[in-house]
Amino acid sequence: MSVFPYLVAAWLLGIGLWGVISSRNYLHLIMCLTVLQGSTYVLLLSVGYLSHAKAPIFADITTKSRVTDPIVQALTLTDVVVEATIVAMLLALVIQANKRYGSIDPDEMRRMRD
């Protein structure tokens, strides 16, 4: 098991956070959030990865075969679904902001309100 995927996960976490911190545009910010989320996918999948193992579908392979861990894959799938809802909700809010205020720049929106 290589340490490489964990480094990738840490890297995605880092740049995702930095993107959210430095963003000047809500749409860009939400995309950074999905990058950040990528780190969870990479971490979960690499936790369950085995080299030279098959996918854990026991239709055409014997139950004794060497397979990757299906649990983390199920977790990742759930994670995708859950976060898709959040991102959809966020994008809906951004559309509302754009419709009503013609801006999706957080700083500009605040200036308008002040």
Binding site: L17, I21, I30, S39, E83, L93, P106, R110, M112
Partner: protein, 602 residues
């Protein structure tokens, strides 16, 4: 009897789906009634579970996947008394909130009802879940519903911003939670709390465990809004509808702390035993900082909901202090305090909702003296202010004195004075606002705290002549709750017994793996004389601070007030309203927590 647990979650979820599908048949009144009925059904189910479980633990295995050969691979609901009590509290609070919002304008059937029901489902599921990943899923269900409810008044810019702040920060929290779950799964190959705890007990404490704990704890502290993770809270609570605020302030903030207690005692506590002093110091330190920070910020606010949001932050800080003592007494005190104070904060939000309904504003400056005619509302508001500043011998007093005693027992003698300070400041903020709005005392507040957004949000609904009786009835129920938890003889003993069960990770594991564990019964010492002194003192101080705030300038203490204002300036300036800044603070907090735990690892 444990079969009832999934029903308590399934019934409102299914009901919400049916409501969404069939709202045309039901109309507004039907939606109100159905939602109310579903919430009530959940409440009854959870209450039956609570009575049945007593001081024990009741496990429900989904699909009958019981542990085999000492290995738990199934997913379970683990109902223990504190979780069941919290779930029951959530459901009852939801009943009150739906009663409060019944027949009011400004909410639309069925969207509002569906969201409220899924919100409640998420919270109840979170309380009952015995599986780390299911905790995450319910945590997210709760967050998604909360985002939609917070940004409900989507025509207002502040509502959009509040919703975005909440959603982004809490999503980052969710990712941290999941990263922590991934690490702990990699380490133990398990997701069931009891199974993880049992596997970890064969290991030594190491960096993976500590980092996983730091990540999961950060996620839960973000939900609880502990400094420096708290910035999203006031932006969100300030814009949410009043009935939603009832649940947000009364229950959602506390969910994070409940989760923290559950993962600490069930999973990490035993293996991280060598670091227990460090964890205690960090949690109590963060709790006290939050307690004082939130309450001090509450005094700076003109916007009533924002004021109460900061009061909420302050009180969550006290809860974390109690929980963070990591003793049974601390947990028991926190439990009592959460229920009593949750009612108190919900009451205040509900009363502010009445002001908003009547006068279309929640600004102290605009409402100055205008609410003179609302006698009942005023009386309840002042009662609420006195109660949350821990007026003996009612609910918040009982909880707080238990926490203070627990702190003295572990040698943290500096905790009680700081808690007194925090509740005095929070009480003062509420009482001063009440005196301005309901009595017209003092000059109209001039402060321009935290930017101009404090004067925004003119409610479109305009002015009305009467308060709907259902709103007042709901407030009455909440007031009765705040008072009742303190004068209910034997409540403290029940809490103490439940807390003993809660902190025993080994007994939890034993029961999950099918072994019987003896019943326990504990009694709680009644509040000592100095508790009466402390808490009575806090109430008196609150009244004093409020008076100083109202008449200080007339009494020639203007310099003192200006000094206080100036001292708070940097704290106010940190609350910028920018997601980027909040995320930076959050990252710093995670870094500090993880760093401290890794550095002190032996």
């Amino acid at each position: 009897m444990s079969q009832l647990a999934p029903l308590a979650v399934g019934i409102p979820l299914l009901g919400a789906a049916l409501l969404a599908a069939g709202h045309k048949l039901l109309g507004r009144a039907g939606s109100d009634l159905l939602a109310l009925g579903l919430a009530l059904a959940s409440a009854v189910l959870v209450l039956i579970l609570l009575v049945h479980v007593g001081s024990g633990l009741s496990i429900y295995w989904f699909g009958g996947w019981h542990p085999r050969q000492g290995l738990a691979v199934g997913i379970d609901f683990a109902v223990e008394p504190i979780g069941a009590a919290l779930a029951a509290f959530v459901a009852l609070l939801m009943v009150v909130a739906l009663l409060y919002s019944a027949k009011t304008e400004g909410v639309e059937a069925p969207y509002y009802h569906v969201l409220m029901l899924t919100f409640m489902t998420g919270m109840i599921g979170f309380c009952l879940s015995g599986d780390l990943f299911n905790m995450f899923v319910f945590f997210e269900l709760m967050s998604v519903s909360a985002v939609a409810l917070i940004a409900y008044k989507v025509r207002e810019q502040a509502a959009i911003e509040g919703g975005l702040n909440f959603a982004v920060i809490n999503s980052i929290g969710a990712f941290l939670f999941l990263l922590g779950i991934g690490l702990i799964y990699a380490h133990t190959g398990a997701l069931n709390l009891a199974q993880i705890g049992r596997t970890l007990s064969h290991y030594r404490n190491d960096r993976v465990v500590v980092v996983a704990f730091a990540l999961i704890a950060s996620a839960l502290l973000i939900k609880a809004a502990i400094v420096p993770f708290h910035f999203w809270l006031d932006d969100a609570y300030a814009v949410a509808l009043a009935p939603v605020c009832l649940l947000l302030a009364g229950a959602m903030s506390e969910m994070g702390l409940y989760g923290l207690g559950r993962v600490w005692y069930g999973v990490f506590g035993p293996v991280m035993g060598t670091q227990v002093h460090v964890v205690r110091a960090i949690l109590v330190g963060a709790g006290l900082l939050t307690a004082v920070w939130g309450s001090a910020m509450a005094l700076q606010q003109d916007h009533l909901k924002r004021l109460l949001a900061f009061v909420t932050i302050g009180y969550v800080g006290i809860f974390l202090t109690g929980l963070g003592l990591l003793t049974a007494d601390g947990v028991a005190g926190t439990g009592v305090y959460v229920l009593a104070d949750g009612c108190g904060k919900a009451l205040l939000f509900a009363l502010v909702g009445i002001l908003q309904h009547r006068f279309g504003s929640v600004s102290q400056q605009r409402l100055h003296g205008r609410a003179r005619g609302l006698r009942v509302t005023a009386a309840m508001f002042f009662a609420g202010g006195l109660l949350i500043s821990s007026l003996p011998p009612f609910g918040p007093f009982l909880g707080k004195s238990m926490i203070e005693d627990a702190a003295n027992k572990v040698g943290y003698g500096f905790v009680p004075p700081l808690i007194v300070l925090s509740s005095a400041l929070a009480g003062a903020a509420v009482l001063r606002a009440g005196a301005r709005v309901f009595l017209g005392w003092g000059e109209p507040s001039q402060q321009d705290a935290g930017g101009a957004d404090e004067q925004t949000e003119p409610e479109t609904e305009g002015q009305r002549d009467r308060t709907p009786p259902l709103m007042l009835v709901s407030c009455g129920i909440l007031l009765a709750g705040t008072i009742g938890f303190g004068v209910w003889f034997g409540f403290a003993d029940l809490a103490e017994t439940a807390a003993r069960r809660f902190i025993s990770g080994s007994a939890y594991q034993a029961i999950v793996f099918g072994r019987a564990v003896g019943r326990i019964h504990a009694t709680s010492a009644s509040p000592a004389w100095y508790d009466w002194l402390y808490c009575g003192g806090a109430t008196l101080l609150a009244v004093g601070f409020a008076a100083l705030g109202l008449f200080g300038r007339r009494w020639g203490a203007g310099k003192l007030l200006d000094l206080g204002q100036r001292a708070m300036t940097p704290v106010r300036l940190v609350h910028t309203g920018r997601i980027g800044d909040y995320t930076a603070a959050l990252s710093l907090g995670v870094g500090i927590l993880g760093g401290l735990l890794v550095v002190t690892l032996r």
